[in-house]
Symmetry: C2
Subunit: 221 residues, 2 copies
């Protein structure tokens, strides 16, 4: 079963979204490498997560990226440019990067989408990523708060898009490894813009209805 | 019960989306006035819908707008400017307009969102609508194809936003009159942009998965 052999590196794996994904994947039997700017601090953070069914390794960003062919990009949107510049020559042949970032800002307590010249965070990543690395978008619409709450079933759909069939397929497989998630293929990478707007809408609904975990299910599929 | 006293005018009520809404509302006991550029042709169209539980009246755009205080704007996005210019002095005091349009184009068989300078179709409408008329957005994400298929339950959530509490509340009440729909409040009118992206995503999912009726349900609410 893929779940026991897959290894995924999560760059930014100690952030709210990254750490939630790291722990959910570890519990699902996926081998996880947390990539961090500060591996020593990350090791202390991961140690605090308690016992996990599988090992969670910690490495620098460059080491994590260079050690596997499936890499989740879970750093804040504002850190993407520097990180991708740093990793330019780190990628293994055949690597697929899965971008989970969303360009929202909470300046002054008000949530807003950042204007991204390329149209979406994922297209912004594409413009800065080595052409030989495949790119997909996924895990953008699951509330980070929910990811970190291991007891609540995810119980929703997760939207995948990407620039090749292989990138989309590997992202969809990874989505499916987390219990309670269904992967919904939305097509080419340019769909990331609409997916990122789903996240903005979910945040708005959370605030308006005083809930925390609004997420989506497609009816009719 | 509100359902038996509410009257709604649907401008563009013979189009695919407008006619689906007109028939669903009529079946729910709402009195419907179909507003059309060509009332004679519209009367023939409405006559072809067969027996309805309540009367469906037909009027010109201006007559329809002037006769009620709840008006659905269901014309194609490209017709909005001319229509709103024509109706500038038609509105009754206290009118709420509910914009159901989505700025998508299918040029060359490829679906894309139109770039709207104001950010969304609803904000485009706001910029052209008399300031004393309230504006909400709703019914943007229900597939037109499904609306017209009276036998299939809608069974989904419908997203509402608007520029006043009253506009949002009246739009939400109207949503709730259709069986199988739950109204989800997304806040101010600026959220229309994200709601319109949901529609684009649903169309993309329909094409990718060879289905027709992809729509949304919020989990966690």
């Amino acid at each position: 079963m893929a779940a026991t052999t897959e290894t995924v590196a999560i760059l930014g794996g100690t952030g709210q979204q990254g750490s939630g994904l790291a722990r959910r994947f570890a519990r699902a039997g996926v081998r996880v490498i947390v990539g961090s700017r500060d591996p020593d601090r990350a090791r202390a953070t991961v140690g605090g997560w308690g016992a996990m069914p599988g090992p969670i390794d910690v490495a620098s960003y460059a080491q994590a990226a260079a050690s596997v062919t499936l890499v989740l990009l879970a750093v804040p949107f504002g850190s993407i440019d520097d990180l991708l510049a740093e990793l330019r020559s780190s990628w293994k042949p055949g690597t697929i990067v899965i971008d989970v970032t969303v360009p929202v800002t909470f300046a002054g307590g008000k949530m807003a989408m950042l204007e991204v010249a390329e149209g979406s965070a994922s297209e912004h990543v594409r413009a800065r990523l080595s052409p030989e690395v495949g790119l997909a978008a996924a895990f953008k619409t699951i509330p980070a708060h929910l990811l970190g709450d291991g007891d609540t079933p995810l119980d929703c759909d997760e939207f995948v898009c990407g620039d090749t069939d292989e990138a989309r397929a590997r992202a969809a497989e990874l989505v499916t490894l987390l219990p309670g998630l269904r992967a919904v293929d939305a097509g080419p990478l340019s769909r990331a813009r609409s997916i990122e707007h789903l996240t903005a809408l979910a945040i708005a609904i959370n605030r308006r209805h005083k809930i925390h975990d609004a997420r989506f299910r497609i009816v009719g599929l």
